[in-house]
């Protein structure tokens, strides 16, 4: 049962490409951050993007979520070219992004945080003329979504600052999951968290995937990547060096491709970096 918060489109069957980036190039002065990089995200999968510092993974993600406009190349959403000039435009097309630095307002409660910037008003004149918020509906729907995501939190109207770090990040992830219609991008969502707290967030990522939303996960943490990713895209020197799965390659093999010690299936010329 979906709530009427989001206008959910029917998600494409598993395996169809939802988001595609072709030949993305981005230069900052003399530095080429991305050099004809590619990416494909299929429906119903968690795609991890890994790479050493400076390999271009953050720039690629910023292009996909609208924070950076590429110099060359194109991004296709459901096969149609899109041009994001701001994160807001990407969001309007159903792409939500979770940032590593816990983008929540700690003094406000969980339900308020989930609906922050997209508050629900009362139906009828109270809402249209007096701009009256429908707090009960927001609380109810927030609780419903949290139950659907199987993410356990204290009372939905308790302040976010009373939560653990993992639960706080859970609120940020849940907000993205609730409002995303096409896909969710997560930029190092576990970077600030401890082991147990990371586990909560990784579970949440799996639940989101199982509900049908594909996820792009950027992470430095190889064990986390191997725990949740269906496919792993390895970036090196601004390009895609390989796409593999946790079954095909071991962690040390992935690291070897990342650093240039081993060749991936799309070799990148050049020495380690």
């Amino acid at each position: 049962m979906r709530t009427d918060v989001t206008t959910k489109v029917t998600l494409p069957p598993k395996g169809t490409v939802v988001l595609e980036a072709r030949g993305i190039t981005k230069r900052y002065g003399h530095v080429t951050a991305l050099d004809h990089a590619n990416l494909e995200l299929s429906a119903g999968e968690v795609l991890a993007v890994v790479g050493d510092n400076g390999a271009g993974k953050s720039t690629l993600i910023k292009v996909l979520c609208g924070a950076v406009v590429p110099d060359e190349g194109e991004v296709l959403l459901d096969g149609k070219p899109v041009h994001f000039r701001s994160p807001l435009e990407a969001r309007k097309l159903g792409i939500e992004t979770v940032y590593q630095d816990l983008a929540v307002a700690p003094a406000l409660d969980i339900a308020t945080n989930l609906f922050l910037g997209r508050e629900l008003r009362h139906k009828g004149p109270l809402g249209t003329w007096f701009r009256l918020l429908d707090k009960n509906r927001m609380r109810r729907e927030a609780q419903h979504e949290m139950d659907e995501l199987k993410f356990h939190l204290p009372a939905i109207d308790s302040a976010v600052e009373k939560l653990s770090g993992g639960q706080r990040q859970g609120v940020a992830v849940a907000r993205a999951a609730i409002f995303a219609r096409r896909l969710v991008i997560m930029d190092e969502p576990t970077a600030a968290l401890g082991v147990r707290e990371s586990g909560q967030v990784l579970n949440l990522i799996r639940t989101i995937r199982d509900r049908g939303l594909p996820v792009i996960l950027i992470s430095h943490d190889m064990p986390h990547v191997f725990e949740v990713a269906d496919r792993i895209q390895i970036m090196r020197l601004g390009r895609r060096a390989a796409v593999t799965t946790p079954q095909k390659n071991t962690m040390s093999e992935v690291v070897a491709i990342m650093t240039g010690a081993a060749r991936g299936d799309e070799p990148v010329e050049g020495n380690g970096g």
Binding site: A103, V104, A107, L108, L116, L132, D147, I156, E161, R175
Partner: protein, 329 residues
């Protein structure tokens, strides 16, 4: 639905804890204690005439403190609000003294006060200047303009419209001024906006975590601009209330109003760091200071003690806020 029933039971169990941790609870206790102490210390404190006077004395600072609360909730501060209100009184007073239409004169004063709020808002939101510096500078500017407009004089107000807020009607033997009604209506209005509209949520969110507010798509600049502009309008209304209280537009009036409004907000439990607090707390904070002044005067204690006790209250309130914020980390 095991999670929601669990959540519900947790909610009920902590009803008392919630009451105590409500930001207005502490200030309310302080107000009740002061009232109790003064009712034992003097016979006249509970006299209806005296209580009415206490509220009348709080009306100007109480109204300025509404704007101050909104601004402090966004993690800003306004050092110019008293100065802007004084300019409002001088503008209206002088225009009416020069036989201008009273309605237009009052509207002009309200407009100019709003423009100063807008100016502060533009500088804070667009140029990202610190509110402390912006409003400190504006205080100097409005004070200078006030003196230029006043040309060394004061303007006694005899016009009915300008002094209307000082008119009173009696309920039983309690005298209620229209100014009190105006203030309470403004408190109700802004309370509604802050707690029951998306705009209010955004004000809290901006003060609480500005970067998060931006990332979730809140138009931070527009919200800040609206807060400062609206506050400017409220300072204009404060000017009208001041003319009702003392029907004489005096450039030397309301010298301490800037800081008094901050005192009221802080004693009322709103955090100077932004994002936490309540408007009713500010009203209680205003009343605490007014009751203290009134009570000490009635008991014949040296007025110097008023400032000393107010100072202690301010520091205690900020210290409590700081300690509770540390605990939340």
């Amino acid at each position: 639905m095991s999670t929601s029933s669990l959540a519900a039971s947790k909610r009920n169990g902590s009803a008392l804890a919630r009451l105590i941790t409500t930001p207005t609870f502490g200030p309310l206790i302080v107000l009740i204690v002061f009232c109790a102490v003064f009712s034992f210390a003097t016979k006249t404190f509970w006299a209806t005439g005296n209580l009415s006077l206490v509220v009348q004395q709080s009306v100007i600072v109480g109204t300025l403190a509404i704007g101050q609360t909104m601004i402090i909730l966004t993690a800003g501060i306004d050092l110019a609000n008293g100065g802007i209100a004084v300019l409002g009184t001088i503008l209206a007073g002088r225009l009416v003294a020069e036989q201008q239409n009273p309605v237009l004169s009052l509207l002009f004063a309200l407009f100019i006060c709003t423009v100063f709020g807008l100016t502060a808002g533009l500088l804070v939101s667009r140029l990202m200047l610190p509110p402390f510096i912006v409003t400190l500078g504006l205080l100097g500017i409005v004070t200078a303009i006030t003196r230029l407009v006043a040309q060394g004089g004061a303007f006694p107000v005899t016009d009915d419209l300008l002094s209307w807020t000082g008119n009173a009607f009696a309920v039983g033997d309690t005298s209620i001024t229209y100014g009190m009604i105006v203030m309470f209506v403004l408190y109700l209005l802004v309370w509604y906006l802050l707690t029951h509209t998306a705009w209010g949520r955004h004000v809290y969110a901006i003060g609480n975590n500005r970067e998060a507010a931006r990332l979730v798509g809140i138009p931070v600049q527009a919200r800040l601009l609206s807060v400062y502009t609206f506050a400017g309008l409220l300072y204009g209304i404060g000017a009208w209330l001041a003319l009702g209280r003392i029907p004489n537009a005096d450039p030397n009036a309301l010298q301490s109003a800037n800081l008094d409004s901050i005192t009221a907000v802080v004693i009322g439990g709103t955090s100077l760091f932004g994002g936490r607090g309540s408007l009713w707390g500010t009203l209680i904070g205003t009343l605490i200071v007014a009751v203290l002044r009134n009570g000490l005067t009635l008991t014949g204690i040296d007025p110097l003690w008023q400032d000393l006790i107010t100072g202690i209250l301010v520091i205690s309130a900020v210290a409590l806020d700081q300690i509770s914020r540390k605990k939340q980390r």
